[in-house]
Symmetry: C2
């Protein structure tokens, strides 16, 4: 499959590399088509890896992963261009973290509680099938959940049932997730993005990003 | 021990009754000293249960449980009176839920993300030892965690280490909690209160409030 990965940070690298390992063709998109971090990533792979602008990567992909920082996501998608996102599945991995007030980060006030980044993306690109996923775990766990032993869970949400089925297949069959909770429409991104404030605190408390939530359910 | 329980809802009833069962003396506080819900609760117990105003219940307790709705908590504590809370441990079980925009609730914007209800209580009553706890589970689980089989976790935070030790003892020895994560100072209430938006969605998704989070931790 042809996949566009927007963002050249650790999340983009990790997801891009895993997708290449699974024999996909991946174009990593960035602000400039000659981004040196993307070039280094392309060079570590023999085949299937390429780089381009956000617009080129979006046009290239049948499916798009948004791996940019939440604070620039809406700007990045504007550069990617609505026409290049039209009708496609956009897997939104980003979180609207605000580091401007120090550590631990807050969420960007305009993008939380009464809305969410996932919802704002869906509003801005109504013809794109936005599926929020993978934003509640470390980049390492995203594509290798079995490196954390025991049962632990992932959450997805989005408005398009078929798109969520496709994403669930990717998460389970490609990445190895076993427990994926579909919380419903994209407004549920409010819930999963608002997990980040406790996630960053647990990171500090536990001394490792190698942890995850497991939902223990009893009798109804 | 003498304990004041502020609030006559399901949380106040459940915690109050459990404390009575453990041979404590409990005064349930409400806006009026003759609140019929508190009177009914008192009548279900042979000894140890009494009712009063918020101020009377706060004055009565060596330890106070705040079991009021988050939207009225700061007003309730003003009625309870700073002098009656001075030097005491206040276990804050409340959440700043805002039901005014429909279901599922959001958080009250002025009490989340860049602050929290726990912090605002601590700011308003600097001589009170506020410990945030129990706000991330159903009232049934609060005092009977073993009714949900398997490992699952509770979070506490607060500025006073000794107060947190006392509360941890209450949670473990009286209520039966086995896994209590101390996240640090009271600002960490931002994290645990912001769990509520995903909690209310999981409630809908799972069809029961009988669930909890377990933090699965791997190698550091």
């Amino acid at each position: 499959m042809k996949i566009g990965v927007l963002g050249t940070g650790m999340v983009g690298h990790t997801i891009g590399s895993r997708l290449i390992m699974l024999s996909n063709e991946v174009m990593m998109g960035s602000r400039t088509a000659t981004n040196p971090k993307a070039r280094d990533w392309v060079r570590t792979h023999r085949t299937g890896a390429s780089q381009g602008s956000f617009a080129e990567a979006a046009a290239f992909g049948d499916i798009i992963f948004n791996c940019t920082k939440g604070e620039i996501t809406l700007d990045v998608l504007q550069q990617a261009g609505a026409a290049n996102l039209d009708g496609k599945i956009l897997i939104d991995v980003s979180n609207p973290l605000d580091f401007s007030k120090g550590m631990p980060p807050t969420l960007i006030p305009a993008l939380c509680n009464t809305t969410s980044l996932g919802e704002e993306i869906q509003k801005a690109y109504p013809n794109t099938k936005v599926v929020k996923a993978l934003n509640t775990v470390s980049s390492q766990l995203m594509v290798n959940p079995s490196t954390l032993p025991g049962q632990h869970d992932l959450f997805i949400c989005g408005n398009d049932a078929e798109a969520k089925n496709t994403v669930t297949d990717i998460l389970k069959e490609w990445f190895g997730w076993r427990h994926v909770h579909d919380l419903g429409d994209i407004s549920n991104a409010r819930g999963t993005e608002m997990l980040l404030p406790v996630w960053v605190r647990l990171f500090g408390h536990l001394g490792t990003p190698n942890f995850n939530f497991h939902i223990v359910k009893g009798q109804v």
